[in-house]
Subunit: 397 residues, 4 copies
């Protein structure tokens, strides 16, 4: 066992941290309040700087044009990027594109890679992932209602999707639809590559979330698919392979989220420390001098440290043995890190008093929008139950 | 001891509940997304209905034109009103006006009552309360920086306030300012009645809170006072009496908030129950059939019941013996009920999954905006410490 | 609604409190470390004092020789008695005898009342209740294995029981045994009155609990029933009526436990306050001056207050409408008050440091032995699930 | 970063685990209920087996006769030993001797080493550490009252100590006493080596803890020092060096406790899994099939994993950079691992129902006696405050 980080990684890690601190954090409030579309030109410039430094797409294989980091190395980068709402976006590592890149890389044929993957890796286009449905439980993709019927060489898609992150402005969607409702539950669904200008693919609205409909990458679309005709060559992978592919997408996706959440924890923690040192409570006494605050700080710190080690360990296991071997670790980390992150953000908000409620710090944004961490990619309850059952199986139960 | 509610109160309680359910809840989403100014005409109509039924201003003494309920009776009404974001507003019982009415009633002279109190009770004008400052701790009003210097028969106010709820569109503000910085801490400040069109009183912005600047009553203003001249007859109460008056305003204010939070708890709880019965998880199995959910429901229910009894007991103590006698009860209820309410809202949001994050239910609004409950009118930490010290004094410590 | 306590009750409440403080608390450590048998003569003297004051058996109907208090009045007495480990015993209100008195009162025929109930009410004999079995889940009395076969006019009992509180030294046991294993689950069991000297009734040991096997009333027996012959006239109630009777015994039993736990909370709280005022931490600074302690104290106080109101409210509901109407309230109070009590005891222990671990205060005894509160009479989990399901049914789910 | 364990360590780790499982666990209940003195002969035999396998004193430097493991390697061994109450004792790694060995190794002169250290390492004698006092806060060794006055070439010790673990039967004590009350707080105390048969050294009693006075190594003595004459050659280290030495003893001591607690967690977790698979709840349904239990299991698992990584990381930091560099990590781990351990033990007890309260599993022993983890070597509150302050200093506060 060795907890040291190689000097080279440490250096990159540090340089990226400096970039985030110097170039992103100062612009974050303005970009966030402007909205995505208005911010896009500036974000594009920042992406240019990242490309110039050779940091583009850290988790993408080098063959595809990325940095090709191991998952463990990526975890370290990702916790630095996570300190800014825009970190992953500016480095070409944002959800849902990162997951879609993996899917296309693994399942796409050459034609699909040329048409969809290449521009996506380059950041020339954005994509979205249309799985969640209003009327079926997101935690259980065997209950999907969206249908894809074959008609000649095409599929006709009909269904209703929502919480399709970044649908607004995306070039294409990966849509999960049931091709064979009579098949065993895990062989019913198939994935399709659907350009968003396909007739019958309609974005109804951006779902207002916590008072904000948002736009562009910072939004969650509601989509109606009505007799949407998709040619067979846009089917991603085998018919019936959608559920398995989604699981393979979600495993890494959860770890990626966990890594990013550690970054959010660290950002919130730094804000809390800075606030404590500058905020006077009474006379000469500062927030930093309040024992209740000091104890909260220690409780946050140890939880962040613990969460971080769990995430790095899971990344290491995946690097060594693949995702399947890490399934229990991923489920456990998913709900634990989400709990730690929402708890730390809540404590940091509280330490800021009224200021914490305002948009003058990123804490209110984190508090409101990262609450979803306990819901997306499997709510806490689902991960606790599935991890509990795995454990019992391991123990002969 | 008798936990029964007289039939007459029960009947009023029930009728008001029906009104909230039939007239307010169906309109709430539209009114909330429209913003306050756009919603105002419809809210005014609803207020007309309330006046016609004789329910206007339940907590205001009958002599002033209200219903004149005891605090205990008001608590029961308030938990019904709290089920809608607009309940208290439509019944003329909303903060900060309710607290300002009490202040004017207690401290105002006849001229001030005629000019400021009468139209406020009638709902012809809105008011705001300008105490919190960005640079001084809201939890400690002895540290205020806003100054009021005497100049002839006038006071010249200079200072910076924020989180002035409802400043946007208010007819006047009650402003806390230091008249004698050399006095003992609790005798430094004085209250002033300042019409919002007074030269030198400037609303800089509505502070964006959780991504929403809001407007009108649904906003929190940032105010600059720059050489703002206020004649002596607009001083509310004695010079140096501001701190004591603020404390007297805050005591009842905290209980009023607690009552309203019970209403929020019940609303969230009902939404959670309704969701559980309708949401299918897998096959025939509904959310309501999930043991983890059932246990959460029981945990929420007992906490709401407990919080409710604490609030009713505190209201009863105040009715019997006045606010001073209830100081410990109020501090304890303030942080406990806020904790219960934020916890129940969080659980209800979680039970709704992605829908809970959206503005399609009021849960996201409660989650984001009622988070402030643990901060305003004294953050949790301050109440815990002050209650702890009171208790130790009682026990001879 | 009225939270006041009539002057007469208040006076009795106060006098009993003084008695507990003056006569029981000073002797508690010696009696506790002596063990029950050695303490019995002194406890008997104290019982004499209680009888002389007219306080004997507060919850027992006056017709049977008790004080005949309402449940609400008893709750107030019980929280005073609960301040001492021996309070309920000395007042003739201890489990399991109190519950057995209720059973005999409700189900016993005249002969049974004369033989078993009368001496039990008078405190001339102790009894025990033999339901829990090592191999079947205590939370589910439909799974009992103990059998009672008819043979002529007798029943032959065979089975294995444990956690039979006070079996050591008891004059008789009420034994739950299955008379008809083929009946519907809730009609399988029957209760029997079994003198402990009946052949085939054998106490194997006192189960060592938290390192202490204890003795007499302060012990939990393990019982083997081997061909134990019990005549029909010792059957308590109808054949097959055991489950229903046990439920009727458990409902009140749970409320009685809750009342007693409030007393434990108050005792622990007083110890914590006293300790804080006397314990120096550094220089002149006492534990009472530590903010972390002050906050903990406030958190404990509000939870005790909340728990107490829930218990009083449940007692009131039962007085007004009977146990069935209070089933949800009782389930909710059972797990909530147990959680509050174990939490307050834990906090008080922590505040005492090493002293809290020692037997020099009653806190270690409470910490170890009252942990069972979350298990007996239905573990937390069972009450949460059953309350959750009841709630959903009420809400149309 | 590398989370793998070298094959050689893994093998030792595994072999020791097998030994604990095969040789210690089956004997644990009998040994524990027998008491230490009665168990000693059998424990001595087991120690012989350990010596024969070359595992004796894993953390002691090889030069002194131990295995000389690094702290990281020791942590892995220690979590295996921690699965049995007697694991560390049988391997010569038990507190307080392990800490005393380190003190003597670091501070002892040759004569002291020959007389006290050598037999201690060999396990021929036991020792104790007399620092805590009933009247001064254990968390603050600058407030000690025990005095050592010089008289000729000797010191005369007077004072009152308690919670002196293993004093009963120990050959000698290391006693902290104030030599210069006028010195700066951290230079007041000095350590002395005091054979327990020294006149004036009197063990008053074994403090009854959670109902058990215990004996031998399994006890906590109360000691009176009355005109106890100790020659100068038995002073350990410099005069005034006691506080610094105690700190150096406590740092490693805390990590050692943390390691052992991980073992307790794993033991409790295994018991919980085994129970769940064998315990029937209703019909065919086992505890393992209950969702509430499955979720609890997952919550325990991730907390144990997190705690374990924190401990291993702290051990690694100490191996690399020494104790001073790890001060914050140690404080954080101390309170977090104690919280996790007590939580896991509590959950495991609950899962066992009434059986969990009994001494038929080790859970009740852990529940009662390991509660002290949150108190000894600095209570939670002290570690939270000191870690919080360190963190703020690091962040420029």
């Amino acid at each position: 066992m060795d907890f040291s980080i190689p000097a080279e990684s440490e250096a990159r890690h540090h340089a990226i941290g400096e970039f985030v601190r110097a170039r992103l954090l100062p612009r974050e409030p303005a970009l966030l309040s402007a909205g995505f579309r208005a911010a896009e030109p500036e974000l594009e410039e920042l992406r240019g700087e990242v490309r110039a430094k050779g940091w583009w797409a850290p988790a993408v294989p080098a063959a595809l044009g990325g940095l090709g980091l191991s998952l463990l190395e990526h975890a370290l980068v990702s916790e630095v990027l996570g300190r800014s709402v825009f970190g992953h976006y500016v480095f070409g590592a944002q959800a849902p594109d990162a997951g879609n890149i993996e899917l296309l890389h693994r399942l796409g044929n050459e034609e699909q890679k040329g048409r969809f993957l290449t521009p996506l890796v380059r950041g020339e286009v954005r994509s979205c992932f249309a799985m969640t449905e209003p009327e079926s439980p997101g935690s259980n993709p065997t209950e999907l209602r969206c249908r894809a019927r074959r008609e000649g060489g095409d599929y006709i898609l009909d269904g209703h999707k929502w919480f399709v992150t970044g649908a607004d402005g995306a070039g294409f969607a990966i849509v999960m639809a049931v091709t064979d409702p009579a098949a065993p539950p895990r062989q019913r669904a198939t994935m399709f590559l659907v350009p968003t200008d396909t007739p019958g693919f309609r974005r109804v609205r951006n779902v207002p979330v916590m008072g904000r409909a948002g736009d562009g990458w910072l939004s969650h679309g509601e989509i109606l698919l009505q007799s949407c005709r998709v040619p067979e060559r846009q089917r991603l992978g085998e018919e019936g392979g959608g559920f398995a592919a989604a699981q393979e997408r979600l495993g890494p996706g959860r770890v990626h989220h966990c890594m990013r959440w550690i970054g959010i924890c660290e950002r919130a923690f730094e804000l809390m420390c800075a606030r404590a040192s500058s905020r006077t409570i009474e006379g000469q006494s500062r927030l930093a001098d309040q024992p209740l605050f000091q104890a909260t700080l220690a409780e946050c710190r140890v939880r962040i440290d613990a969460a971080r080690l769990l995430v790095l360990k899971a990344a290491w296991t995946i690097d060594q043995e693949g995702f399947a071997a890490a399934a229990e670790e991923i489920s456990l980390a998913k709900f634990f890190v989400a709990e730690v992150m929402t708890g730390v953000v809540d404590a940091a908000l509280q330490a800021h008093g009224a200021l914490g409620m305002s948009d003058d710090t990123p804490l209110a944004f984190y508090y409101a929008h990262e609450r979803a961490a306990r819901i997306y990619d499997g709510p806490d309850e689902v991960h606790k139950l599935s991890a509990g059952r795995r454990i019992l199986k391991r123990h002969g139960g």
